[in-house]
Structures are given as structure tokens and as C-alpha cells.
């Protein structure tokens, strides 16, 4: 099969799986997950094959795998859509295929396939466990299967379809389609346990917040189309003349060029999707969804899509950048990215929920990538995107495994008031869940950028180096964020796995089934190994001994391959220092936390800790500034006052006036005058008739006399008038 054809087919299996499950197999849990996993496997195989083809093509940047069809006629021309595999989409496809497949497999175990139906489980709520009686007659509480098991696999398949579609698109329109389908799936999956009010609220919040960004993106797309007449990536982004014109035409807005303004609109889409400040608020709440969903959203698909989009649009964003002075748009992007990276990591420090810490770390890491794009570090941003996807998927799945193990303990003690996600209820899990411990450790160290061995180190170091050379302020911000990252990661590892169990539930935690363990192990390999394909050539000792493949391969995507930053000792040392320093600090501070003890940081930070724990009160501020006023405007101002008061009121006033005028006519003209005349005529006739009645006697003789009199009279009149001689 030609690679182009195969690329078309990559997104298809998950979509088919979605429809098959929804329409036909939703009653069979086994069949549903088999179809979904099989579909993921097919897409995976296709992706790998295409990836290998892409690797063998030495000039993939110049002659990518592309195929185009006509989609809709607009005026006299056709709007075309198609698929494109260039180096950037090839590497993205690689990590998406791996992580998606692992998440699918993991979901089978996570939703307790093979376990009995729950005693009191209802659709729309998480399973609460079942009672079984074993051969000896002992009663046990065990985990129960998710009631909406099939639905989960249907939705998550659609999610995968959206991401694959986005990655293989050769144009902004189909990319946007995939983008929005993911938005929908995030809504459906965050609200998967829809009977929980908190999940319902989180779902709508996620969808709305990202949609605000999406609409700006849509406008950016419309602008780009009206400026260039196409939405095809290659026609715009691989075309020097188009970029030159767009970059040189002023837009008259904030001193941006047309390219800058379009780029800004598209970037706002990324701010929403990748949860950058100020649209970051949806992401932590998105933890309401089942853990595989968190991994899906935070690593494999949705938030990566945001960064992927600005990487795609990089030539446009930098169209008027000539390598010296940052353009206004780049300054905006760099500032938002760097600020988000630091800001989110401060919040992560004070969170107690194991998944929420990871949520904020996602926001923070995405900030790194966005900042990298802002300072023009294209390759470094792409590198971090890939490594982050691997280690963050690993971390989420591991944390899901931890929660799963804790739920096991909860069933054992039957204490349902205990929060199985609160890290202060854990401790000592390394002995209970050894595999999960190691995989979590690998993921965490990769996130913290533990030197040399982990993938996260290499990609983060590359961003820091670039920032150090071109934008020192960004460098210091990111270095600070890296320190905090290492610190909260170690806090998390220490609280969860080290020390002694702090609750009986943690005491009875249990390692998870192989369907969950296998994906963890596979992802661990990438969380370490993927860093070694992109070791900078100038790196001491290791440089040129290990490949610098990633930089060379992905750099090809651009018209002019970017210059890689020269090696510099300062960012390297800083990188090592903050990583090791943060990790040690975290261990020192949390290694002795006992049951019931409060967070040691709470004493150190005082009221600042409360602010951090409440996420700087952003939810409350937004509620006050935006949500409440909007509700008031639509409920009271527009609906009550304008619509029913003024507009309908005016109509009713018109009707009233017509009524008044009508009544006036009736009382002042109709009744006295017109009716008066009518009545007068009638009345008079009646009176005359009444008067005449005297002659209506009914006697023939009298009539004869009257007739004769009249005839005689007429005769007299006639003769006299003719005037007889």
C-alpha cells in the first residue's frame, strides 16, 4: 500500500470502533473493549509503518508524504483537504500511537474488567465494589466493574480518532475538526461519571474554557483564509513569498503584522487547549474523569495538540522574526509560557491530591514548551513535547495504579470516607506496589529532569540552553520553575511511596493487574530512552557519541532548518543543580511525615500556603468577574428588561394604543355619529311606518279610495305639468 493511502487510514479504526460500540456491541463489555483495543492496535501499526517510511526518506521536509482531495466547492474553486506526514507530524504520530495504545490497554484493567457487577453501582457513578463469597464461605469486598464500561471505550476511541485526525491533517480546517472532536470527548469523558455534580461541572468548565480559545482560533483560520485563499500548511508555511508578504503587511493592531495577528488568534486557541494562563482553570478540574482519561488529555492527546498547533504554525508566528529582535507576538507567547510554567509549579507545591499535583505539573511543563516556541526554540519545544507525553502518561497511569491500589485497601477496611487520592493518606506503598513504585519513580525523575539518564533532562536542558542564550529572563523563570518541579515531584514520591503506611488502607493496598502494569513498563522505557536520541553534539563526553537525530530530523520541517544553540556550561550546571537540589529538598522535608501530621510546608509558608492551596483563588475571581455578571446580563438585563420589558412592552403598548384609538372611534365617532345616523334612519323609518299604520287597515274599500285619490292626484299633476292647452 502506498504510504499516502495508509496515512488516510490511520485515524479510521478508532472512529469505526466508536460507531461499532455505540450502535452494536454496547451490551457486551468484552466485545467492546476488544474492538477498541484492536482499533488502537491497527492505528498503532499503521502509524509505526508510516513512521518507518518517514525515517527512510532523507528529504522528508522537502517532499513529505502528502495526499489531497477536493472537499467542498466554494465559489468557483474547491476547498481541499488532505493528509501530510512531515518530520513534525511523524514524531508526533510516534508518541501519540504509543501512548494511546498503552492507555487503551491500561483502561481494561483500570475499569476492573473481569470483576463482578457492583452491589449498588449505578450508571453515571464510579463503581463502589461488590461482595463475593468464596469457597470457604467467607465474605469479601472486591472491586466491581464500571457500569458504563462499553461507553467508556466508545468515547475514548473517538478521542483517539480526533487526535490522529489532527496529526495527519495537511490543513487547518481538518486539524480544527480533530481539535474540536477532542474538546467534545474531553467533555464527555471528564463528565463520564455524570451523576456526580462535581464531574458535571468540571466537564462543562473544560469545554467552555477551551472553546473560548477555539473560537479565536476559528477567527484566525478565517483570517488566514481570506488573506491567502488556502488553509493548506505547505502552501502557506513552506512558501517564502506568502510568509514574507504576511510578515510585512501591518495589521494595524498592537503593532502586529498580519502574520502576527493571525498567529496571535491561533495562539489563543493553544492557550485554551494547552491550559496556559489565563485559561488554565479547566485542567485541574478535569481530574474528575477516570484516570486513563487524565492521561489521555494530559499527555497523549488534547494538551499536546495545543502545543503541536503552535509548532505547526511556527513559520507564521516567526514570519517577521529575523533572528535578532523578538516580534511582539513572540514576546507575548514567551511571556505567557514562562509565566505559566512558574505560576503552575507554585500551585503544585501545595496540592495534596496525587492527580492534582500532576495536573499542575502538566500546565507548568506545557508552559515550558510554549515559552520555547516564544523564544524561537522550535526543535527544543518539539523535543519536550514528545518526552513530556511519555513521562506524563507514565505518571498519570502510575498514579491511577496507586489510586486503584488504595481503593483495594478502602474496600478492605470499608471506610468510604477516606480519600484514596490524598497523598497524606498513603505512605510506604513501595513495598505494596513495587512495580508501580519504580515506574512512578522513573516518570517523576524524568519530570524533574534528573541528569543524564532521564528523557526529561535532555529536552528540558535544551530549552534552558536556548533560553539562556537568547532570553535570560525566560531562562531564570524556567530555572525557578524547574527547581519547584523537582521539589514537588520528590514531595509526591516521598509522601506516596516512602516511609511507613499512614493509614490502614495504605497498609492493605495491593499491586494492580498486568493489564495496568504492562503499559507502565513500556512507557518507562520511553521516559528514559527517548532522551538519548537527541543529545546535543556539543555536549561534553556524550556529544556525538549519542545521536543528535531528533534535532536534525525535526529541524527539516522548516523551510530553513533552525540553528541549534551552542553548548554552554551555565545552563547545564543550572539544570543539574535545580534538579538535584529540588529532589533532595523534597526528600528532606517530607521523609518523616507521620499519620495525622500537617504539611511541613504549611508552617514554613504560613498564609501563602493557603493562597497556593486555593490556586490563587482564580476560580473565585473568575466567578466574580465573568460568570456572575454574564448570568446577570442574560437573565436580567437582556431577557427581563430588554426582551420582555422593552421589546415586548413596546408591542403591547402599540396594541394598547390601537385599542385606545379603536375605543375612541367607537365611543366618539362610531356610536354617536355613524351608529347615530344609522339609528336615526332606522328610527325615523320606524316612526313613519308607525304613523302610516293608520292607513293599513286591511279593508279593500279603503285601499280603493286611497288608490283612486292618488291616481287622480297624479293625473292632475301630469296634465298640469305637460301643460295642456
Amino acid at each position: 500500500m502506498a504510504p499516502e493511502t495508509l496515512v488516510w487510514l490511520i485515524p479510521v479504526p478508532p472512529l469505526l470502533a466508536f460507531f461499532l460500540i455505540v450502535l452494536f456491541t454496547n451490551r457486551s463489555k468484552w466485545l467492546s473493549h476488544t474492538i477498541a483495543v484492536l482499533a488502537a492496535l491497527l492505528s498503532f501499526a499503521g502509524s509505526m509503518w508510516v513512521f518507518v517510511q518517514a525515517l527512510q526518506n532523507e528529504h522528508l521536509g522537502e517532499s513529505p508524504i502528502e495526499s489531497i482531495i477536493n472537499w467542498l466547492p466554494l465559489g468557483e474553486s474547491w476547498f481541499q483537504i488532505g493528509v501530510l506526514i512531515d518530520p513534525l507530524s511523524a514524531v508526533t504520530l510516534f508518541f501519540v500511537a504509543w501512548t494511546v495504545l498503552m492507555i487503551f490497554i491500561y483502561s481494561v484493567g483500570y475499569h476492573n474488567f473481569g470483576q463482578p457487577q457492583g452491589d449498588h453501582d449505578v450508571p453515571g457513578l464510579p463503581p463502589h465494589g461488590a461482595s463475593v463469597v468464596d469457597e470457604q464461605g467467607h465474605k469479601h469486598r472486591v472491586l466491581s466493574i464500571e457500569p458504563l464500561y462499553s461507553r467508556f471505550f466508545a468515547f475514548i476511541s473517538l478521542f483517539a480518532f480526533g487526535m490522529y485526525l489532527l496529526v495527519v491533517s495537511n490543513n487547518l480546517l481538518t486539524m480544527f475538526v480533530g481539535w474540536e472532536i477532542m474538546g467534545l470527548c474531553s467533555y464527555l469523558l471528564i463528565g463520564f461519571w455524570f451523576a456526580k455534580p462535581s464531574a458535571r461541572a468540571a466537564a462543562i468548565k473544560a469545554f467552555m474554557t477551551t472553546r473560548i480559545g477555539d473560537v479565536f482560533m476559528l477567527l484566525g483560520i478565517a483570517f488566514l483564509y481570506s488573506a491567502t485563499g488556502t488553509l493548506n500548511f505547505r502552501d502557506i508555511l513552506y512558501n517564502e513569498n506568502v510568509l514574507l508578504v504576511l510578515g510585512e503587511t501591518p495589521s494595524g493592531f498592537l503593532g502586529l503584522s498580519v502574520a502576527g495577528l493571525i498567529g496571535l488568534l491561533l495562539f489563543i486557541g493553544t492557550v485554551g487547549k494547552s491550559a496556559q494562563f489565563p485559561l488554565h482553570v479547566w485542567l485541574p478540574d478535569a481530574m474528575e474523569g477516570p484516570t486513563p482519561v487524565s492521561a489521555m488529555i494530559h499527555a497523549a492527546t488534547m494538551v499536546s495538540a495545543g502545543v503541536y498547533a503552535i509548532l505547526r504554525m511556527f513559520p507564521l508566528i516567526t514570519a517577521d522574526f529575523h533572528g535578532h529582535e523578538f516580534t511582539p507576538l513572540m514576546i507575548i507567547i514567551g511571556t505567557i509560557g514562562a509565566f505559566t510554567a512558574l505560576f503552575a509549579s507554585t500551585i503544585a507545591v501545595a496540592q495534596n491530591d496525587i492527580k492534582r499535583v500532576l495536573a499542575y505539573s502538566t500546565i507548568s511543563q506545557l508552559g515550558y514548551m510554549v515559552a520555547a516556541v516564544g523564544i524561537g526554540a522550535y526543535v527544543a519545544a518539539a523535543f519536550h513535547l514528545v518526552t513530556h507525553a511519555f513521562f506524563k502518561a507514565l505518571l498519570f497511569l502510575s498514579s491511577g495504579s496507586v489510586i486503584h491500589g488504595m481503593e483495594h485497601g478502602v474496600l478492605h477496611t470499608d471506610n468510604h470516607h477516606l480519600d484514596p487520592q490524598n497523598m497524606f493518606n498513603m505512605g510506604g506503598l513501595r513495598k505494596k506496589m513495587p512495580v508501580t513504585f519504580w515506574t512512578f519513580l522513573i516518570g517523576g525523575f524524568s519530570l524533574a529532569g534528573f541528569p543524564l539518564v532521564t528523557a526529561g533532562f535532555w529536552s528540558k536542558d535544551e530549552i534552558l540552553t536556548d533560553a539562556f542564550l537568547h532570553a535570560p529572563l525566560v531562562f531564570w523563570t524556567l530555572a525557578g520553575a524547574a527547581l519547584l518541579t523537582a521539589f514537588y515531584t520528590m514531595r509526591q514520591i516521598t509522601l506516596t511511596f516512602l516511609g511507613e503506611p499512614r493509614t490502614p488502607e495504605a497498609e492493605h493496598a495491593h499491586e494492580t493487574p498486568w493489564t495496568m502494569i504492562l503499559p507502565l513498563v513500556v512507557l518507562s522505557v520511553f521516559a528514559i530512552g527517548f532522551g538519548w536520541v537527541g543529545v546535543p553534539g556539543g555536549f561534553p563526553v556524550l556529544g556525538h557519541r549519542l545521536p543528535e537525530w531528533f534535532q536534525e530530523f525535526v529541524g527539516e520541517t522548516l523551510l530553513v532548518a533552525p540553528e541549534l544553540p551552542a553548548f554552554n556550561w551555565i545552563p547545564l550546571l543550572a539544570s543539574i543543580l535545580v534538579s538535584i537540589g529540588g529532589l533532595s529538598l523534597g526528600w528532606l522535608l517530607y521523609r518523616n511525615v507521620k499519620a495525622g501530621q500537617s504539611d511541613p510546608l504549611q508552617n514554613a509558608l504560613g498564609s501563602l500556603y493557603r493562597v497556593l492551596q486555593n490556586k490563587y483563588y482564580f476560580d473565585e475571581i473568575y466567578q466574580f468577574l465573568f460568570v456572575k455578571p454574564s448570568i446577570w446580563i442574560s437573565d436580567v438585563l437582556v431577557s427581563e428588561i430588554i426582551d420582555r420589558g422593552i421589546i415586548d412592552g413596546f408591542l403591547h403598548f402599540l396594541a394598547y394604543i390601537s385599542g385606545v384609538i379603536g375605543n375612541f372611534f367607537r365611543n366618539a365617532i362610531d356610536n354617536p355619529v355613524i351608529n347615530g345616523i344609522g339609528d336615526f334612519v332606522g328610527e325615523t323609518t320606524k316612526r313613519i311606518g308607525f304613523a302610516m299604520r293608520v292607513i293599513q287597515t286591511g279593508k279593500i274599500q279603503q285601499y280603493m279610495v286611497i288608490s283612486l285619490v292618488i291616481i287622480f292626484g297624479a293625473l292632475v299633476y301630469f296634465i298640469s305639468s305637460v301643460g295642456l292647452p
Binding site: W71, L74, F194, A222, S226, I642, L651
Partner: protein, 507 residues
């Protein structure tokens, strides 16, 4: 061709045969009446497909023309002149499709005076199809006014508690606008000597200031029908009080008579005025988009919410039309169809839950997804289509409209500012808010009300009424090319006239 056998005559008047049959059926035989009405409307739909088969999509001109002299008053000739082109073909198919669907939806909902109901319904279909096909202004006006009467009775007899108020408001409001249009039609007939629309368009030559007055007179009738802000206030009352089938037709087709009127008459007949009026109409359209969305959000009654959302959606259509470029107008026509499908389906869905619970108050529900999974899924799909999710029909229409509006917003373009497209896009966000708000109120959350615990999911008849709409929702969303292909040449012809005017009008 023979008058009776001409496809356009047949598609317009075939419902009358059903009416004739119904007259002879005993009013107690309700099922027989229903079947006759359904069969008639299906036959009409079949005929419309036959018309479509004969339609040549690549031809931008009027086709299947039938032109017979009808009334001769001194030198003025009123003709029976009908024809179809790319501007109207999709709307005719939409009308003939929605009619049987609506009739099917009344199967258990209408029990009183079934015979009268069906007769009015079929008469309504005659009027609507006639409006889309007429090419003689006088004939058009007759059909236009004719649609009012059956709808008046449908609302007034089978409507909700406040039906009399709603019916009268509907009738008077639309009537008031039509009077102005009648004057303009008479002026055209007297001054230009003909009522023939294609001739009038070809003739042109109406001075610009008079064009503006005529434009306004026609616009008065159409803007009320659309309805454009601030002339919309008849709509929520009529929609809410009308029986389900009436709401479906009202939203699905009757509103399109207004937008179609702008496209068929205002724009080609008065091109100079259209260019001058475009920014004003676009402002009203954008206000309508935002305003409709905001009022929707404030509603507690599901049906009212859907009704107000029409104001918002039709705002998009108007914005697209008066972008006066091919993307905008094509998007607008497609959006007319889309709105008919999605809002029609939404009204059907609201009707289905109303039949079960006899309330439409959103607070009376919650957690329905658990008891009615099929109903929940279909509502979700339709809602998403209505809020313009990519992959479904609404997005394609909104997207092309935005492209058109943005293109017209280029400096020196018809609209001259990007703000139109920008603010309209804000409506997309608002749409998501009120639609998801509705969905969550109805379907998500805990199931707290006892009345809702034993609700029956959709039966086969109900699913059948919805399936054609769902198929089209997906079809248009995934592969809209055939739909655009049908209208593209005709739209190109309309806007081609335009661009010259627009460019000539530039400084």
C-alpha cells in the same frame, strides 16, 4: 408542458389531493386520517426527489420553468410562473422532508380534531412550496400570505395555554410587514410593467434612492419572518405555544421564507440598495446572534430556549447573505437547511419529553441519561450539531459564513470591518454555553425526581422520525460537497452581479 403534469405544479399542489381525500373520511377514523396525510406528504416528498432528479446542478439559471398567463388586468399580466434553481432546490427538499416527519410526530400527540389538523398541515405545505417556486411577484405574494392562515389555526386550535395570544401576535405581526411588501410589489408592477421576477432582475435600472425604499419595504416583510432583531418577539410565543409539529415547520421552513425572500428578491432586484444596507443588516444580524444566545441562556423552559436559539442561528444566516460573496451566501443557504434539520430535530425531541412528562421546565428533569440512553444520545448529537461542532452539519455552515463575513470585512469590502465576523464568532461560544447548560440540566447529574425514574425510552416510531434528520446531520457535516455543488453556480451568478456593484462603489 401540460399544467397538471408539470413537475413543479405537481410538487406544489399534490398535498391538495390528500386534502380532498381527507374531506371524505369520517373524522372519528383518526388512524386512517393520519395514514392518508402521511402518505400524501411522502408522495410529495417523492415528487420533490423527482424534481431534484431533473434538476441540473451545473446550470445557474432557472429551470423546469412553467409560465402560463393567469390574470390579465388592463396591460398588467399576472402569470402562473414557477421555476426552480440552485437557490431554492434545497429548501424545497427540506420542506417536503420536514412535512412527513412532522406528521409522523403527531401520531399520538394530536388526538383532538385530527382531520382538521391534517388538512391545515397539508395546506400549509402547498403554501410553503409555492413560495419557494414562484417567479411572479403576485403569485409569490399570494402563496406568502396563504401560509399564514393554516399556521394561524395550527397555533390557535392545537396550541398551548396561551395560544390565542400567540396566534394573533404571529398573524398580525407578519401581516403588518407584508402590507409594505405588497405596496412595493404594486409599485414595481406599475412602474416596470411586469411582475415577472427574472425580467425585473434583468431590466434593472431602478434609481438608487428608490431602490432603497423598495428594499426597505420588502425587507419589512422578510425581516419579521426571519426574524431579525428587534422584530423577533412574535417568534418565542408562536414557537412555544404551537404544537410540536407546528414548531418544527415554523422553525424549519417558515423562517426560511424570510431569508429566502432576501436572497431571491431583495438582493438581485435592488443590488445598489443591498450594498448600502449590508452593514446595517449585518449589525442587526450580529446583535441577533448575541442577543438570541443570551436570552436562550436565561430560559427555564426548554422549548423557549430552542425558540430563542433560532434568533441567534438566523442571525448567522443573515450575516452570511449580506456578506454578498460566494462563501457567505453558500454558507447562509446551507445554514438555512442546517437550522431546519437541527432545530427541527430539537423541537421534536422537546415534544417527545413533553408527551411523557407534560412539562418543559428544565428544573423538573436531571439525570435522564440513565433512564433514557437513546434519547440522551440523540439529543446530544442534535445539540452538538446546533452548536456547530465540527464533523456535524452546523459547523460547515457557520464556518463558511465566517469565512464569507471575514472576507467581506477586508478593508474596502462590503462590510468593511472584521468586527462582524469577530463578534459573530462570540455567538459560537455562547451557543455552546446555553446548549450544554440545557443538556446538563436535562440529562446529567443525579436522578432526583421520582416522576423521571420510570420514563420510557424512545419507541420505534419516534426513532424513525429522527433518523432521517440524523443522517443528514452527519452527511452534511462530513461531506458537504454535494450540497454546495447544487447551489454553487446559482450563488455565483447572484454574487457576480454584486461584486461589480461593490467594486464600482469603492472610493
Amino acid at each position: 408542458m401540460n399544467f397538471f403534469l408539470h413537475p413543479l405544479t405537481m410538487v406544489t399542489f399534490s398535498p391538495l389531493i390528500g386534502v380532498l381525500v381527507l374531506l371524505f373520511i369520517n373524522r372519528e377514523q383518526k388512524n386512517a386520517i393520519r395514514w392518508v396525510a402521511l402518505t400524501t406528504s411522502l408522495v410529495t416528498f417523492g415528487i420533490s426527489l423527482w424534481v431534484f432528479a431533473q434538476f441540473d446542478a451545473s446550470n445557474p439559471d432557472l429551470q423546469l420553468v412553467i409560465r402560463l398567463p393567469w390574470i390579465q388586468v388592463s396591460s398588467w399580466l399576472i402569470e402562473y410562473h414557477m421555476a426552480v434553481d440552485g437557490l431554492s432546490i434545497l429548501l424545497i427538499l427540506l420542506t417536503t422532508l420536514l412535512t412527513p416527519i412532522s406528521i409522523l410526530s403527531t401520531w399520538t400527540a394530536i388526538e383532538e380534531r385530527v382531520k382538521d389538523f391534517m388538512i391545515f398541515f397539508l395546506l400549509l405545505e402547498v403554501g410553503m412550496v409555492g413560495v419557494f417556486l414562484s417567479q411572479d411577484l403576485f403569485l409569490f405574494y399570494i402563496f406568502w400570505e396563504f401560509t399564514l392562515v393554516p399556521m394561524y389555526f395550527l397555533i390557535g386550535i392545537w396550541g398551548g395555554p396561551n395560544r390565542i395570544y400567540a396566534a394573533i401576535k404571529f398573524f398580525l405581526y407578519t401581516m403588518a410587514g407584508s402590507i409594505l411588501m405588497l405596496l412595493a410589489i404594486l409599485w414595481l408592477g406599475i412602474q416596470q410593467g411586469t411582475f415577472n421576477v427574472p425580467d425585473l432582475v434583468a431590466m434593472g435600472g431602478i434609481p438608487a434612492d428608490i431602490q432603497l425604499w423598495l428594499f426597505i419595504a420588502f425587507a419589512a416583510a422578510f425581516a419579521i419572518k426571519v426574524p431579525m432583531w428587534p422584530l423577533h418577539s412574535w417568534l418565542p410565543d408562536a414557537h412555544v405555544e404551537a404544537p410540536t409539529a407546528g414548531s418544527v415547520i415554523l422553525a424549519g421552513v417558515l423562517l426560511k421564507l424570510g431569508t429566502y425572500g432576501f436572497l431571491r428578491f431583495n438582493i438581485p432586484l435592488f443590488p445598489d440598495a443591498a450594498v448600502r444596507a449590508a452593514p446595517v443588516i449585518a449589525v442587526l444580524a450580529v446583535i441577533g446572534i448575541l442577543y438570541g444566545a443570551m436570552v436562550s441562556f436565561a430560559q427555564k423552559d426548554v422549548k423557549k430556549l430552542v425558540a430563542y436559539s433560532s434568533v441567534s442561528h438566523l442571525g448567522f444566516v443573515m450575516l452570511g447573505l449580506f456578506a454578498l460573496n460566494s462563501q457567505g451566501v453558500q454558507g447562509a443557504i446551507l445554514q438555512m437547511v442546517n437550522h431546519g434539520l437541527s432545530t427541527g430535530a430539537l423541537f421534536l425531541l422537546v415534544g417527545m419529553i413533553y408527551e411523557r412528562r407534560h412539562t418543559r421546565d428544565m428544573d423538573a428533569f436531571g439525570g435522564l441519561w440513565k433512564v433514557m440512553p437513546v434519547y440522551g444520545l440523540i439529543t446530544l448529537i442534535v445539540s452538538l450539531s446546533s452548536m456547530g461542532l465540527p464533523g456535524l452539519n452546523g459547523f460547515v455552515g457557520e464556518f463558511t459564513i465566517l469565512l464569507g463575513a471575514w472576507g467581506a470585512g477586508n478593508p474596502g469590502g462590503i462590510l468593511g470591518s472584521y468586527w462582524f465576523a469577530g463578534l459573530a464568532a462570540l455567538g459560537v461560544i455562547l451557543a455552546a454555553i446555553y446548549i450544554l447548560y440545557m443538556f446538563q440540566k436535562l440529562f446529567l447529574g443525579p436522578l432526583t425526581k421520582d416522576e423521571n425514574r420510570n420514563l420510557k425510552d424512545l419507541n420505534w416510531r419516534e426513532v424513525v422520525t429522527l433518523v432521517p434528520l440524523l443522517v443528514l446531520i452527519f452527511w452534511i457535516g462530513l461531506y458537504p460537497a454535494p450540497f454546495f455543488g447544487v447551489m454553487a453556480p446559482a450563488v455565483e451568478k447572484v454574487v457576480a452581479v454584486f461584486q461589480t456593484v461593490a467594486v464600482a462603489g469603492l472610493p
